[in-house]
């Protein structure tokens, strides 16, 4: 809502030129959201490349003996890389679109966490609560 007001205020002072309105509202400028610079894209790219290379190296060279450790470490790398993508490529911050972007993102993250952890949790328990089945029954499954 406040962005509408800003635009209306801009229209009121339209003769002052495009960049005449006070600072702090970068996203009402001519190219809207997503103000990346060459430096930020390069930073993001280098970080993402490193964060991609390390998990591949961990898995392909079998650095850790335990699969569980490897899985947890590469998942952590994935989470960090997703944050890097959001910050450096999607240019998300708490101020873009007056915070509505961030609000939508947080809401989605909550739903994603509920969906993923809930499904996996329930389904693993469901497996152990199934009727016992012998190997013979399993072989003759349709």
């Amino acid at each position: 809502m406040s962005s509408h007001m800003d635009n209306l205020a801009d229209r009121g002072h339209g003769d002052h030129g495009h960049h005449g309105h006070g600072g702090g509202h970068d996203h009402d400028d001519d190219d809207g959201a997503g103000h990346g610079t060459l430096k930020s894209y390069f930073t993001g790219f280098v970080l993402a490349a490193i964060l991609t290379a390390i998990p591949f190296w961990l898995v392909m060279d079998r650095v850790f003996d335990s699969s569980r450790t490897t899985a947890l470490v590469i998942l952590a790398f994935a989470v960090v890389q997703i944050v890097v993508h959001i910050v450096y490529f999607l240019h998300m911050d708490t101020k873009s679109e007056s915070g509505w972007n961030m609000l939508a993102l947080i809401f989605t993250l909550v739903l994603v966490v509920i969906t993923l952890s809930g499904s996996i949790w329930i389904m693993y328990h469901l497996n152990s609560n199934m009727m016992p089945m012998s190997t013979h029954d399993m072989r003759n499954m349709p």
């Binding site: 809207g32 591949f56 392909m60 994935a78 490529f89 972007n101 739903l111």
Partner: protein, 213 residues
């Protein structure tokens, strides 16, 4: 939308002395479109979350068929990942050139992005064809059904992203970097980076964790 709000100027500002006309394209409120597109991306994110959850549940149900460790070719996946990551930064370069109003350079970077995207797609299609040829098609096991659904949905997104990219290149060629095209290119930028973001989840959760013993 904003026209209907016109009489409700904020209390503090003095009304303009003479009618000031709204010039389309100069103060076009792009926020609405970009925020709306962001909300669409978030809903798309939920689709992928459901597919990831499905894969998480079914990913180890091999039905006595081949497992991820038997099937996945990690060097191929690494090449695919780097193609998509490179296409992400070349799209960023296109956006930077767009901001400098250089049509030719923008088109060039868009073309490079498209070619990298096509490379990604053809490697993925090659992988799929190879799997199906080996008898590891989507009908083989629950693991492969969920694998093809998740990775295939991502591939379909990339396909439509390339269709959109080509459309935008034609639009920019015909009309130049007009505000409408800038807005569309920014939406496509979010879409393209979002696909790269989803791919981070795919190569970690599906490929790397799939080959772990």
């Amino acid at each position: 939308m904003s026209d209907t709000l016109a009489p409700t100027l904020p209390g503090g500002t003095a009304p303009p002395p003479e009618p000031v006309f709204y010039v389309a394209g100069e103060h076009h409120p792009k926020n609405g479109t970009l925020l709306g597109f962001w909300v669409y991306l978030m809903s798309d994110c939920l689709i992928f979350a459901c597919l990831f959850a499905t894969y998480g549940v079914l990913g180890r149900n091999y039905a006595a068929g081949p497992s991820g460790a038997d099937l996945f070719d990690l060097p191929l996946v690494a090449v695919n990942t780097s193609l998509l990551l490179l296409s992400s930064i070349t799209y960023g370069f296109a956006m930077l050139e767009m901001r400098r109003n250089r049509v030719g350079a923008t088109q060039l970077w868009l073309a490079v992005t498209g070619i990298l995207g096509l490379g990604f797609l053809s490697l993925e299609l090659y992988e799929f064809a190879h799997l199906i040829h080996q008898g590891a098609g989507p009908q083989r096991s629950a693991f492969l059904s969920s694998f093809f659904t998740l990775v295939g949905t991502h591939g379909l997104h990339v396909t439509f992203g390339i269709v959109w990219l080509v459309t935008m290149m034609i639009q920019v060629q015909m009309h130049g970097l007009i505000p409408e095209n800038r807005r569309r290119l920014m939406c496509l930028s979010m879409f393209w980076h979002f696909l790269d973001l989803i791919w981070v989840g795919v190569f970690t959760f599906v490929y790397l964790m799939g080959v772990l013993p």
